[in-house]
């Protein structure tokens, strides 16, 4: 039977990874992600898996990719500075179609910033951090149990689409402890590593004499140029873009009769939830879209909702990142405002309520 436990976000991530069948972790200590490696350093040996601390984050992502080609589900976890160091090889994972999971517990600012302060400032880096056009899937979570579930989903999507999957957490969620009931064996779907696809073996050591390269290549793994290189790039980007609709993960609340819409994700969604309940109780026709997958971005969904609301608010712990995408997708159908906070504290329900109420008053003035 499921039992209630008091669990930290980072621990939920580590346990989600084990649940998903992850048997390889390589990392380098960095606040606020280190507890993930510390937990796995204790638990991995018990299940015959590998957890190693390497010399830096570049080595960590490299080893994760190497292990993945050894046929093992593999993950690394880090925060901003380490995430920056990993970028080149995230691109390598994308072009070589290597399933792997990268957890980024976001912290404040560029460079060293504020290591112990939460932020949502890596949203664009997660999408575009490595050079060149490339496919990637980016997930996020707002609750400790959800961290567990999204970690499992990250592994599943990495296997299905053969891409690096990035899970964006943040300092508060990483360190937050909640009373939760975590999934028991069999409760969540776990996608196993395929041994072959289209008749081709996928792992090293299987006699297939695979050739893996970060250069533009054809299905044999050898370099190509010109139209064949274009085909390669279009295929790897297309496999995510074409499945956008299937990949969407979100929750909508009060969307049917909403005049005002809040779009949020990650830790900020917790404040939005409280604010929306209060505003609804006060008679404000507000709706809420809680995004769980940030990339691929749900353009169509935003476009549809924007066509029947008067106003969209996007609260984020940054100076304006996902709001740009929302503005683009809304395409002028509704004005889009940004509520950003970067003093290291979370956005509160009160701030959101006040912002929305002021806006409601303004709109009413205009309409009168």
């Amino acid at each position: 039977m499921n039992k209630q436990e008091f669990v930290q976000g980072n621990e939920a991530c580590a346990r989600g990874a084990l649940y998903a069948g992850c048997r390889f972790f390589a990392g380098y200590p960095i606040t606020p992600s280190s507890e993930i490696m510390e937990y796995l350093a204790r638990e991995m040996p018990k299940v015959g898996g590998v957890c190693v601390q390497l010399e830096d984050e570049i080595a960590s992502i490299s080893a994760v990719i190497g292990a993945s080609w050894g046929g093992v589900k593999a993950m690394t976890a880090t925060s901003g500075p380490g995430f920056s160091l990993m970028q080149e090889n995230i691109g390598y994972a994308a072009i070589t179609e290597t399933p792997c999971v990268i957890v980024d517990c976001q912290r404040w600012g560029p460079s060293t910033g504020q290591p112990t302060k939460a932020a949502q400032g890596d949203v664009m880096q997660a999408r575009w951090g490595t050079h060149g056009d490339h496919p990637v899937i980016v997930l996020t979570a707002s609750w400790v149990r959800e961290v567990f579930e999204m970690t499992v989903l990250a592994f599943n999507l990495a296997e299905i689409y053969r891409v690096p999957v990035i899970l964006l957490l943040d300092e508060v969620l990483a360190h937050l402890r909640e009373n939760v009931t975590l999934p028991v064996a069999g409760e969540l779907e776990v996608v196993e590593r395929l041994e072959k696809t289209n008749g081709r073996m996928l792992n090293f050591g299987a006699g297939a004499h695979l050739m893996i390269t970060g250069m533009a290549h054809d299905e044999t793994g050898f370099p190509v140029q010109g139209e064949k290189a274009a085909q390669h790039l279009k295929r790897i980007v297309g496999k995510i873009e074409e499945h956008k609709e299937r990949l969407m993960r979100y929750q909508g609340f009060y969307l049917d009769d909403a005049d005002f819409l809040v779009v949020s994700y990650g830790i900020t969604s917790r404040a939005v939830e409280a604010a929306v309940e209060r505003l609804r109780a006060g008679g404000v026709p507000i709706g809420w879209l809680d995004l769980k997958i940030l990339w691929p971005f749900p353009d169509k969904l935003i476009r549809e909702i924007a066509s029947h609301v008067k106003y969209i608010l996007v609260p984020e712990l940054n100076l304006g990142q996902l709001v740009r995408e929302i503005e683009r997708a809304a395409a002028g159908q509704a004005p889009v405002a940004h509520l950003g906070r970067v003093d290291g504290s979370l956005i509160t329900p009160e701030e959101i309520c006040k912002y929305v109420q002021d806006e409601v008053a303004r709109v009413q003035r205009v309409c009168l």
Binding site: A26, K46, G48, E55, A63, G66, A67, F204, G205, H209
Partner: protein, 271 residues
């Protein structure tokens, strides 16, 4: 059935991409010969290369192979070997790749004594990118980014590997094919981190920039500038100047990383 060196190469991919007179082909041929001497099962070998002319050797082995990113082959191999301890994992890297951008991974692999075989194609220059300065370029030698001569001191790869903890270390040159074969064979058979440094010629850049245009002249230079370790130790400091010692520097037993890790797992499971 005995296996011939050609069975370890993707012969259908020949001719290779290297310049006429380049030493990289000699080393690659020697590695395949060492695999044949050991009669290894090609299905049980993985060859990982970095980025550079040397890293392109990874495309030539009829085994599982990975052409990784610049300097990171050692780190990719660390993950692969931990996931698949049963595989023989061999690295083909340039001097710039292994000691410049990848220097950190290299010394830590030495320290861990992880069971990998690293063959370093040391041409003392960045060949792939057009002849720039490498961390192995001798002092005063020219490159496109040290046009007036190098003012830095080069790494001595073999001594660096020993100091960092590698347990098999050997150095030779592309002049001596049988010795490359012997050292790679010994390195692959050795349990632990094995480093085989092979001094090799890049006539296109190092040669042209340093008045050594003829590849055969470069090979003879290797012969005249190198002495066996035994001889080297008997020479006076004056005699040693300008001479490069070659041979087997070290072959010792020390706890190996993968074995130690899985030993710990056994303990963890029984706890």
């Amino acid at each position: 059935m005995t296996r011939d060196y050609r069975q370890y190469l993707r012969v259908e991919k020949l001719p290779h991409v290297w310049c006429p007179g380049c030493g990289h082909g000699i080393i690659t041929h020697a590695i395949a010969s060492a695999m044949a001497d050991l009669q290894l099962d090609p299905d049980q070998i993985a060859v990982l290369g970095g980025i550079g002319c040397s890293g392109r050797a990874s495309f030539l082995f009829q085994t599982d192979a990975m052409h990784t990113t610049h300097g990171r082959a050692v780190a990719f191999a660390t993950g692969l070997k931990l996931a698949r301890p049963d595989l023989h994992v061999l690295l083909v890297m340039g001097d710039g790749d292994a000691l410049g951008i990848g220097g950190n991974h290299f010394i830590h692999a030495c320290r861990r004594n992880i069971d990998l075989t690293a063959v370093i194609y040391n041409n003392a220059i960045y060949g792939q990118t057009g002849g720039q300065l490498a961390p192995t370029t001798p002092t005063e030698k020219r490159s496109t980014t040290s046009p007036y001569g190098n003012v830095e001191h080069p790494f001595d790869i073999a001594r660096l590997a020993m100091a960092a903890g590698a347990t098999y270390v050997a150095r030779t040159t592309s002049f001596d094919f049988p010795e490359i074969v012997r050292f790679v064979r010994r390195g692959m058979a050795h349990k632990g981190f094995s480093v085989i440094e092979v001094l090799t010629q890049c006539p296109t850049y190092y040669g042209r920039l340093n008045d050594l245009r003829d590849p055969s002249q470069m090979l003879y230079e290797f012969k005249s500038h190198t002495v066996s370790l035994e001889e080297y130790h008997q020479m006076s400091p004056e005699e040693q100047a300008g001479k490069i010692p070659i041979g087997e520097f070290l072959c010792e037993e020390r706890a190996e990383f993968i074995e130690s890790y899985y030993g710990l797992c056994q303990l963890g499971r029984s706890a």
